[in-house]
């Protein structure tokens, strides 16, 4: 860990100004990811801007029945907010599938979205990593790649985005509110994170000096047909090997009206394929359809060797998740059996 300056922002514009004026500045929210990265010498901010005093902790009702979740609302506050539980239970469930109770208490909504990959090479500065050090190469390709991507990877980077919460937000078509030197703007959630392509160093589409102020949820709640299913190497406190946020609306005669499937643990961003989803409108909500959905979503999947298993695992997980969602019996995160 190197020496750095520390300041506390009192207003959003303070924080934005501090970020915009110093390319070495980074925001500190819960610190559960940033501090680790600093200890491992992965990131060496010259200045830390503590945003914990900003008035961004609230979860507000929106006139259309939606919710605006402040960037500093903790993961626990989001998961246990009765409005979130009632209107967007998929989000609550996904948050509870992540990390541990202690981490969720400290972690914030903004920090969760902006957490960096858990790729082992990214964390080890003595290995090449294009994300950490552009142009240095990718240690994970041909290396320990059991946890890496099967979709949307490039020959520069095969890392995955580790968040659970974001998978639900992608499925729910959330909107990210950001504020920067040029003012405020909205970014649709599915356009917030990016695929690695030739620039794996950038995880998302925010411009320099911008910060996240809130997440907005407005669309369909999918409160009756949803699930979040996470497969991991132990029952708690482990990142997803594969996770599925599934939601659907089903007509009275059992046909799919609206289908959402977002995948975690498989790509550099929460993976959604809206075109593919749309193809299944009108199809019967049954296992055969779900199998086709899974095949369609994974059509371009490619393993790296150690992680080849993620392809059949993802296929089976999608089918199971869609069955859970269709039946109206979502995975209960406190139940250990896969329902």
């Amino acid at each position: 860990m190197r020496q750095f300056s520390y300041s506390r922002a009192e207003t959003v514009s303070d924080a934005v100004a501090a970020l915009a004026s110093n390319p070495e500045a980074q925001l500190l929210a819960g610190g559960t990811n940033l501090v680790d990265l600093m200890k491992y010498n992965v990131t060496r901010p010259g200045a830390i801007v503590d945003i914990n005093r900003l008035p961004l902790k609230e979860i507000e009702d929106l006139p259309n029945g939606g919710l605006r979740i402040g960037a500093l609302a903790s993961n626990s506050a989001v998961a246990y907010d009765p409005r979130v539980q009632e209107r967007y239970p998929l989000l609550s469930s996904a948050v509870l599938a992540g990390a541990s109770a202690q981490l969720r208490n400290a972690a914030t909504t903004g920090g969760n979205i902006l957490q960096r990959t858990r790729c082992y090479y990214f964390y080890d500065p003595s290995t090449p990593c294009n994300k950490r050090e552009p142009g240095s190469g990718c240690g994970a390709i041909g290396g320990v790649n059991r946890i890496q991507a099967i979709l949307g990877a490039s020959d520069k980077c095969i890392a995955v985005h580790p968040s659970d919460m974001c998978v639900a937000l992608a499925a729910l078509d959330a909107v990210v509110e950001v504020e920067g030197p040029d003012g405020k703007r909205d970014i649709p959630f599915t356009e917030f994170h990016r695929l690695p392509g030739d620039r794996p160093e950038s995880d998302n589409t925010m411009a320099r000096g911008e910060m996240v102020t809130a997440i907005r949820l407005e669309g369909n709640h999918f409160a009756s047909h949803y699930t979040y299913l996470k497969l991991r190497d132990r029952l708690s406190y482990a990142f997803a090997l594969v996770s599925v946020a599934a939601a659907m609306e089903v007509s009275s005669d059992g046909a799919i009206v609206d289908l959402r499937v977002a995948l975690g643990g498989v790509a550099h961003k929460p993976w959604r394929d809206k075109l593919a989803e749309a193809e299944f409108a009108g199809q019967p909500a049954n296992e055969e359809t779900f199998r086709q959905v899974a095949r369609r979503l994974l059509a371009g999947a490619k393993g790296q060797g150690e992680n080849d298993f993620k392809i059949p695992l993802a296929e089976r997980s999608i089918i199971r998740a869609l069955k859970q969602a269709a039946s109206g019996r979502p995975q209960d995160q406190s139940v250990k059996a896969i329902q």
């Binding site: 290995t127 041909g142 708690s236 695992l313 089976r316």
Partner: protein, 755 residues
């Protein structure tokens, strides 16, 4: 044997518990000296080669840095391997930090920065520039296995395989039932809560007070005295509190060397603490590959056992553990061949980790026994009962006690084993396939030479002391209990002093021998105090005990009395007054009795029963129930004993399903060196574990009938889990840990296989 037991045998809480839970128990790195400096270590980032250049100039200028040590300026230390060998060293050349420019493994310490704060020392290590000439690393055991060899110098006699007996190949070929398979276990890494750390307080006359995280203060003391040529009288080493060790602290670690080196060099107090990451560069349970062939007759009686075990070691030492001998011991078989080899890799020397050897070898043996049970078509418990033997065929000795039948019986009854349907994939619960598996566990019951001091004061209070350690095992409490019963006192009237090199000699705490050894020594010393009391009492006028012998007296209610008639006796305070003393103190000693050792060997045993549930489609396993029945002689304290077994079982679950150092063999490095990514069982992974003790009366295993419990809890657990997974799914997974991808791979439909 322990005679009257009022306190021994009670499920008492640890006497050191309040200190620990209130933060008053100080661990090695929690001590401070005036003007103390802090050290931080820089590690190599290549696995083999040499340091061509190391530039510390920038680090030396870093604010707060006092000195940077590398191989270019390290103060002199001992020259001979013998002087570097600690009490439990293994054959080979012990690692000498900063000895020269050679790099022998990834993560080898190559510099020590000493600064006025931990942060400054740590920050400065990141600006040391190193240029390497790197060689090609060899760290993949599978690829190097052809280079395996029989260790030329055995670590100790017990570990060499017994000579072959009978005609194992011939018997195998002729038997109607045969199985033959290869089992592999990934390397496991120690992660006790407390990290390694050493604080050295530099005294005014140059004497050193050392607080070291270790499983033996005397081992730490003696080793640094040898390495630095110190006057043993001027060095005291402490390990009063140890936050878990499990074998990782048996051999002194490099931070002890560094702290003492820097302290002597600068004549200042110095502390060196390790980081979590360093736990992956230390003592580890070596990666292993084992081949087992078993054959049985039509009734399931073993006709042939052939076990070949091979595991990794470092380039500089031949680490050895008893992996395979259990296969010639646990069951009756007249045709046995056991072979054992090790393979050099560019890694740090592996070391003892809870039940070293047995945890590895019995996992293979007991999985193979399950395979044989299915081959023969016999219930797995029944197969084991048919092959029961009350004799150590390896050494051709009697066994002191082996209540293994009772372990099977009680364990199976509590578990409900009789409800089991033999056929795999025949039991389910919703989406889960349910599997029940079992295994036998075995570990040796050892007695090591030990001394203890017992002091009885005229006010009736007792102090028990020994250089023993309490690495979380409950040593404080059980030694107190033995002392309490010897003098008919409540536990709180006995104080226990352990964890200091100046106290009576004790071996490192390992091998599950502490309770038996130090416990017996306390018992012996207590009897000696009572004998001295008796001699004093007999000098008193009209002594009612004038004719009594040592064997006839005991202490009851503050008086020395005739065992047969408590009315006859004298108050302890009166005896001491008459003798003109305020206390009586004796040193007791135990060592193995050669006459017993010649005829008998002693082991602990267990029967482990496990239930798993595996999602049929998604193949995710979880352990939902464990029942373990343990026969380990006398149980001194059922509460601390149970905790030992629970901990062992949980570690066994880690071996079965979770723990794995993920190595990138291109660079020879473990890529998941932290406890977020190196998975041990989380709370959610641990459900009901029921521990049953089958008490054995055994006066030969140790003078107090204790056999020890530190290791037996882990042995067999991984096999029971793998057997349960087979029973649930029909998939026999022979590579540990059994992660879901391995089960999935065995259950893929043709349409799902990846090209």
């Amino acid at each position: 044997m322990l005679n009257s037991s009022k306190v021994v045998g009670l499920p008492l809480s640890r006497i050191d518990g309040p200190l620990k839970v209130t933060g008053r128990a100080k661990y090695a790195a929690e001590h401070f000296g005036p003007g103390m400096l802090q050290g931080y270590v820089l590690f190599s980032t290549i696995a083999t080669g040499r340091i061509a250049e190391i530039d510390t100039s920038e680090a030396e200028r870093f604010p707060g840095v006092v000195k940077v040590y590398t191989h270019e300026n390290r103060p002199p230390a001992a020259k001979k391997d013998e002087q570097w060998k600690d009490e439990v060293a293994v054959p080979g050349h012990p690692f000498r930090p900063l000895e020269n420019d050679r790099v022998l493994y990834d993560g080898q310490p190559i510099a020590l920065v000493v600064a006025d704060s931990f942060e400054a020392a740590r920050d400065a290590t990141s600006i040391i520039r190193v240029r390497y000439e790197a060689g090609e690393p060899h760290t993949d055991l599978k690829r190097e296995q052809d280079n395996s060899y029989v260790p030329p110098v055995p670590r100790d006699k017990q570990m060499a395989p017994p000579p072959p007996r009978g005609n194992p190949e011939g018997a195998f070929a002729q038997a109607p039932h045969q199985i033959s398979a290869t089992y592999s276990l990934e390397g496991e890494y120690h992660n006790p809560m407390e990290l390694f750390g050493t604080t050295v307080i530099f005294g005014q006359d140059g004497e050193l007070t050392i607080y070291d995280k270790s499983q033996g203060s005397q081992n730490s003391h003696d080793t640094v005295c040898k390495i630095f040529g110190l006057d043993p009288e001027k060095v005291v080493a402490h390990n009063e509190f140890v936050g878990g060790a499990f074998g990782s602290g048996l051999r002194p670690k490099y931070q002890l060397f560094f702290a003492v080196m820097a302290s002597l060099d600068m004549k200042r107090s110095v502390k060196v603490e390790m980081s979590r990451r360093e736990m992956f560069y230390l003592t580890w349970r070596p990666t292993s590959i084992q081949n087992l062939s078993l054959a049985a007759d039509a009734e399931g009686r073993l006709q042939s056992v052939m076990h070949h075990a091979m595991h990794a070691t470092s380039q500089y030492e031949d680490y050895q553990e008893n992996v395979a001998n259990w296969s010639g011991l646990l069951y009756k078989c007249d045709n046995v061949k056991i072979t054992y080899e090790i393979t050099k890799l560019d890694v740090s020397t592996p070391g003892d980790m809870r039940a070293p050897g047995a945890a590895t070898g019995v996992t293979a043996l007991e999985t193979a026994m399950d395979e044989l049970a299915y081959e023969v078509g016999l219930d797995p418990v029944e197969l084991r009962i048919r092959n029961f033997i009350h004799r150590d065929q390896n050494q051709d000795k009697e066994i002191t006690s082996k209540a293994l039948h009772a372990c099977y019986r009680e364990g199976a009854a509590r578990f409900g084993w009789s409800e089991r349907v033999m056929q795999p994939r025949s039991m389910r619960d919703g989406n889960d396939l349910v599997g029940w598996g079992m295994a036998t566990g075995v570990w040796e019951a050892q007695l090591s030479p030990a001394e203890a001091r017992v002091r009885l004061s005229s006010d009736g209070k007792v102090v028990v002391s020994a250089a023993a350690s309490d690495i979380g095992t409950g040593t404080y409490t059980i030694l107190g209990q033995i002392g309490a019963d010897a003098f008919d006192l409540p536990l709180h009237a006995v104080s226990v002093k352990i964890g200091q090199s100046t106290l009576p000699k004790t071996a490192v705490q390992g091998g599950s021998w502490t309770a038996a050894s130090s416990g017996s020594a306390v018992q012996v010393a207590s009897r000696m105090v009572i004998a001295t009391l008796l001699r004093h009492a007999q000098k008193m006028e009209n002594s009612p005990l004038a004719k009594a012998t040592e064997e006839q007296v005991e202490v009851a209610d503050g008086r020395l009395v005739l065992e047969a008639n408590h009315q006859v006796g004298v108050a302890i305070s009166d005896i001491m007054d008459a003798a003109g003393v305020t206390f009586i103190e004796e040193n007791g000693k135990v060592e193995p009795d050669p006459s017993i050792q010649k005829k008998f060997s002693a082991y602990t045993h267990s029967g482990v029963f496990v239930e798993v549930k595996v999602d049929e489609e998604l193949c995710r396993p979880r352990v939902t129930r464990v029942v373990i029945a343990v026969a380990a002689g006398k149980i001194l304290n059922p509460k601390t004993a149970r905790s030992q077994i629970l901990g062992g079982v949980v570690m066994g679950l880690g071996m079965a399903l979770y723990e794995e150092g993920l190595a990138d063999h291109r660079i020879g490095r473990i890529m998941n060196p932290n406890i977020a990514e190196y998975h041990v069982p989380a709370h959610a992974d641990v459900e009901d574990i029921e521990v049953i003790f089958i008490e054995e009366d055994d006066d030969k295993a140790s003078p107090i009938g204790v056999k020890g419990l530190g290791e037996i809890g882990i042995v067999g657990v991984a096999a029971a889990v793998s057997n349960a997974i087979f029973h649930a799914t029909g998939s026999r997974i022979r590579s540990f840990p059994i992660t879901l991808d391995k089960i999935l791979a065995d259950n893929l439909l043709e349409s799902e296989t990846v090209q």
